[in-house]
Symmetry: C4
Subunit: 213 residues, 4 copies
């Protein structure tokens, strides 16, 4: 990784650790689940090492991978789901940070909406927190993909969605959690915060109205 | 803004920043939504600058506007919804502080009660936390207006409600959040805290009783 | 109040302020509601002064009353509901502390169970946290009295319940909150914590089972 | 207890106190309920003393028992439910720590699932947080035993389940709480955190789907 200097890595690792601490405190990373990454340059990303406590990350818990997901300059093992992070960097040249969390609302909504395959948000002012949305009078679709321990199946699902020309700002995995991203870490965190809020609101409305999706 | 001295502005900006920090910590200002203001004098108000993180405001995130919503002594852009704040100062000469937040209960209740156009509170002791209410044996009505990105439509809705001679202590915007106010910042915060509590209680009762409004 | 020394008052005031801070942080004292007291001797109690912020009490926010609820040695006005506190000290010679709070679960449960007039707890291990209960295989009844701004009506309701020979460890007021007490402040707080837990559990079971009480 | 040195006891007591503080802060140990233990050696365990505040444990709140549950080297009385802890150490030679807590979700789920006798988890990614589970495509069963103040009945229920050859990673007691364990304290805490998350998710799905178990 000759092209990436160590200062960039340090800077990204610190932003990842800060995000992990904040998201862990919210209870969105239970029991060592979740993983986070940032793009370092056109060919590399910094990603959390497998199995570490995501709510208490240090610089040493972050490693470098190339965009094929291979470890660079270390014998550490990246998070099992690294392939999903590097796919985002390959498919979205603008993406600078990817967050995968596992809150209760994310897990429950993924189960509830899995039969339909998508969560559809409409009429919420907070849709404007997603880059490119300027009005509540819009539709935001978040697909729900089937869970699998084989990451290549999920990579295919994401590719198929994108290849069909559909907009993608985040996706849920059934019984599991969410992936979202942004141009930089603040935008990725704003997207995650907004999606969590919108999922909680939708679940609340279903409880109140007594109608399933 | 010759008539407003800088000490008053500093004092108001500090109260606004304190309110933002407290309300942000409660999760009521997700993803840079929400805005807050205080009256400076008969013709001016201090209001949050557009797009700032409302949970972490400094003195520099507050600006002065006249009661038509025009920036005074600065090139900063006030919050998009400034017109709703200045309307309150024009229509309620006693109003000293206006708070707009965006909690989950506020957003969800606004969607649920939008078809009816109003949330009606009765039989709650905490209605006494609203200025002028001295008994639970009263009715507190909070209208729900349709959401729009055109503030002049909301200004018309509020004017129409007031011009019909109806009491107004707060209003919801569908899919969005709440506006409330008070003589000073402590009263505005007490009103907001009480309304959030009452909305959460009403939503809970609907879940328990299984009856929609 | 010649018979009560100032050290006892200080000691009680500190326990009341500590309880207020802890209960306020839990959100059980919204918008200056709630009030707390401790017995000073056979004829006097220390009680919170009307209108103070119950989550941020100082020694100066506590005053002395006799058991008829009259201010002693001060021109301050005791909490409006002081008569309910002094009634407990008169009727329960062992009672050393009385807590009145106003959590969401307390308010909502009071509304839901008001038509039945009582919340009946059975089969919960935590019933053992109430003094005198040694098994989950028992019945704990908490009456729900109608709300009124006239304290003498509530005093009559409590007297009528006790005069009928029924056990009383706490009561709810419709749309309002709970009163409970104990031999000393730690026991009163344990009772309140257990009752809040039990009310939340009962409400959750109703939501899950879809059956109203 | 000649075979256990004091350093081991100190080390375990500190881990127990840390766990109690963390679990108490989450509200999972209401009103002095709950108890915790760690294995000291093949014949002894450290366990919380009866009646202490589990959210604020010190070294002096922990005592030594043999695996028959008898106090060793102290006249203190161990938690009433010590027999359930020592049973785990006898039946699971690998078990190093046992946690019993009493969260609202644990209490409510135990009531709801008691008629069926078991909570069955399927399709959740977080099942992988339980030792031995490597895929969401598995079944995790947690039995619900009837509550009783006679610990020997619960010991019989646990023995009967194990003697039937069924896997056991945790169990609920009706109207009461959960027991779970692990090779060491971090694993026991990870199991507890995952089970709490899974119970909350199952309860949420039932509320959303309106179908009882």
């Amino acid at each position: 990784m000759s092209s990436t200097d160590s200062a960039t890595l340090q800077h990204c690792a610190r932003q990842i650790a800060d995000a992990g601490r904040a998201l862990g405190a919210l209870g969105w990373t239970p029991a060592t689940s979740s993983n986070f990454s940032m793009r370092l340059d056109a060919e590399h990303a910094a990603v959390t090492i497998s199995g570490r406590d995501k709510g208490n990350l240090g610089i040493d818990d972050i490693m470098v991978v190339d965009l094929a997901g291979r470890a660079v300059g270390t014998s550490a093992r990246p998070s099992a789901e690294t392939a999903l992070h590097t796919q985002i960097y390959r498919r979205f040249p603008q993406a600078g940070a990817v967050l995968h969390t596992h809150s209760r609302a994310q897990s429950v909504a993924s189960r509830l909406f899995a039969p339909r395959g998508v969560v559809r948000f409409e009429h919420w002012e907070l849709q404007k927190a997603i880059a490119g949305y300027t009005t509540h009078d819009s539709v935001l679709e978040v697909p729900v993909f089937a869970n699998t321990q084989d990451m290549s199946e999920l990579v295919r699902d994401v590719d198929a969605w994108l290849d069909a020309g559909k907009a993608l700002h985040a996706y849920l995995i059934d019984g599991h959690g969410i992936y979202t991203w942004g141009r930089d870490m603040p935008e990725a965190r704003r997207h995650l915060e907004a999606l969590q809020f919108l999922l909680e609101c939708e679940l609340d409305l279903i409880k109140l109205r007594g109608q399933q999706p």
